[in-house]
Assembly symmetry: C2
Homo-oligomer: 409 residues x 2
């Protein structure tokens, strides 16, 4: 492997984003990369000179194992969208000057839609100046909304976490002998993959949630209330999984509903309550029973203590495959996961032209949504189930999961 390597992480983290970093690092090292740099806080940090020598921080195989189990982006992240080259050529010149200075031959960026846009722009600009640097995208996002790939690393672990705690909350909801409604607010502003994953909780020992509200389906408050009333006729504890991003038929977010919303801060500014809270308030007002909201919160993207081993492994594999593809001459591509067998489940890695991926959002297909019954179909469940299989035991030290940290601050 001639030339140096640089790798960055961008966008929201996942519980396994560092497994991809481990995959890139370990593979590049094994294939003889000279220097393997990490950019802190993505391309934005890179522009500010925040660069580390990864070998100083990932020193042995134990560190690799800890890295795989460390939540949040090890290198830090950014939400920086590169301007078009027509708008600001200088930033591209700066980036390539720095890359050349570091003698970078391979550039890897682990991220979602926006990050793939970065790879797309950098590889296009590189081609335009005949740069030999190869740019490869490594997919990650809990939202599972990247096109071209069967699924994204990060989704399986988030789905496993959501389904596991949904089971626990369902049991918790049964504890008292009173009617109650519990609304679980789940991430995913536009795509309902994570919210649908709550359906995985349904099984031999759990009825699963009673309603699933996806952002792909317009939210009708009246029909919703009717449904809750209907469910309460036979169930004392009704559990509703809702995407934070559900919208009314007029396109407004449910959490902006005028009749309901309104959290006023110290200065009288109105801030938005969460969708879960709004729905719980609505149930409490209209149905008149005890209603509570539970926001699954940021843990959905950082609960490394309960990850899917399939997900960790695939996250590592896409890192490995990105290095292999770049060495084979590829650039301007993203690694994909291609499901080649359903039973037994098996995915190969593939590569896909990044131009066709960047900024495309993959939603839950309508045929996997049972809108009438407020649920996802069995096909949806069959698609998700293999992605949450098996565990990667945390390395427990003094009773808590041990993480690897980048001590540069």
């Amino acid at each position: 492997m001639k030339g140096n390597v640089i790798v960055g992480q961008s966008g929201g983290p996942t519980a396994v984003i560092n497994s991809s970093l481990a995959g890139v690092f370990k593979t590049a090292k094994e294939r003889g990369a000279n220097m393997i740099y990490g950019m802190q806080h993505g391309i934005q940090g890179f522009l500010n000179g925040q660069i580390v020598n990864l070998a100083d921080h990932i020193k042995n195989n134990l560190d690799i194992e800890l890295l795989k189990r460390t939540p949040s982006s090890f290198l830090g992240s950014c939400r920086y969208k590169l301007p078009d080259v027509s708008e600001n050529k200088q930033v591209y010149e700066d980036i390539f000057a720095k890359l050349n200075e570091l003698e970078i031959a391979y550039f890897f960026y682990i991220g979602g839609n926006d990050s793939m846009d970065t790879i797309h722009k950098l590889s296009d600009y590189g081609k335009s100046i005949n740069s030999p640097i190869r740019f490869m995208g490594v997919p990650k996002t809990i939202d599972n909304d990247l096109a071209a790939t069967d699924h994204t690393p990060g989704f399986g672990s988030a789905a496993k976490y959501i389904a596991s705690i949904t089971k626990e909350v369902i049991r918790d909801g049964l504890v008292y002998d009173v009617n109650s409604v519990t609304v679980l607010e789940i991430m995913g502003r536009n795509a309902g993959w994570l919210t649908g994953a709550a359906a995985l909780a349904r099984g031999e020992d759990c009825e699963g949630p009673d309603m699933i509200l996806l952002p792909e389906i317009p939210f009708d408050p009246k029909a919703f209330i009717e449904r809750v009333k209907e469910l309460q006729k036979t169930k004392r504890s009704v559990i509703i999984a809702v995407s934070e991003g559900i919208r009314l038929a007029n396109g407004k977010y449910a959490c902006e509903m005028e009749s309901v919303a309104g959290h006023v801060d110290a200065f009288g500014h109105r801030s938005l309550s969460g969708t879960g809270r709004i729905l719980a308030d609505l149930v409490s007002s209209e149905v008149g029973c005890k209603a509570r909201a539970i926001e699954f919160s940021t843990l959905q993207r950082c609960a490394s203590h309960i990850v899917s081993r399939v997900d960790v492994t695939e996250a590592f594999q896409v890192g490995t495959a990105a290095v292999a593809a770049a060495m084979a001459g590829e650039t301007g591509k993203m690694i994909t996961l291609d499901r080649v067998s359903e039973s037994p489940y098996h995915c190969n890695t593939g590569i896909f032209d990044i131009a066709e991926i960047a900024n495309v959002e993959k939603k839950v297909p309508m045929e996997w949504i049972d809108a009438e019954n407020y649920y996802v179909t069995q096909e949806f469940v069959n698609y998700c189930r293999p992605l949450i299989q098996a565990e990667l035991t945390p390395v427990m030290v003094e009773g808590l999961p041990r993480h690897l940290t980048l001590e540069t601050d």
Copy 2:
């Protein structure tokens, strides 16, 4: 063991409350109990005739292991406080008639303060009518606020969960290169044990939270904001652990602060926002940086997927000890955990007169609170650390933790 056994669960559940149930059931069975009944939804369900034969539901040792790993009260719970016998003698006559009908010789109640009050009243009434039935309390509460015992089963697992996810959230907070404040809202209305447990996150790989606000210390919004500003001078991500129950100097809950609060529902009713949200709003207004609140929510009492093995074991032991003590002739007592050695940590079980425990609330001692630095002392950490040690791996089926359910509905 002559005569039958009945066992119930009461109050809020914990992640290990069913381990105590397993301890009572297994020990009673091994010692030759004839029938072992479970009351559904505590004494309230018992009064309504909701009684099950536990042997129908816990059939073998695998069921025992699943039961230990099942969150929320297996038998269901209630929040029913027995009236004084002077107010309502009838209810006592009803209870004892039912107990005699079932030929109960031993009555076990797994719960917190209110549940111990129930045991206290029943054993007193039993004595007054010369009933031979023996009544024993089995302690549980995540809040750790029971008197006489070193700690309560349920606390260790809640503490382990809180410390583990605090570590994950702390890492998550570092992901972007911007100033931010994260407020973690933790359970415990009057006692700060759980909130203090966030300090366990501090270690070789984690700085821990930056401030800990306990309900034992009056909350001063002005001093709080000053402290946040001070912390922000050196730290970009400030993490604050706050008890849901902190109060202002005037005794009002912080979440009732007039200048800040106010969540208005569909009918204009003002409902309380959570303490975490209120503090995040305050920071956002007064400090002007990005602030978010994360409510650790009900998962604190039902996250069986990450329990402390020490806690599970002790929960089982107090169940076992209750049966042994009742058989030895004790009644009107609660089992305690007595720490007989610090290093290595070891607890024995003891028994304590329930009259001195019921309705007494154990708070964090002032000498374990560093009010000036908004933290708990090393003594507090040393006290908690042994209680979160080791794990009990969930039994994973189809990628999710398997639970044992009571299929009676």
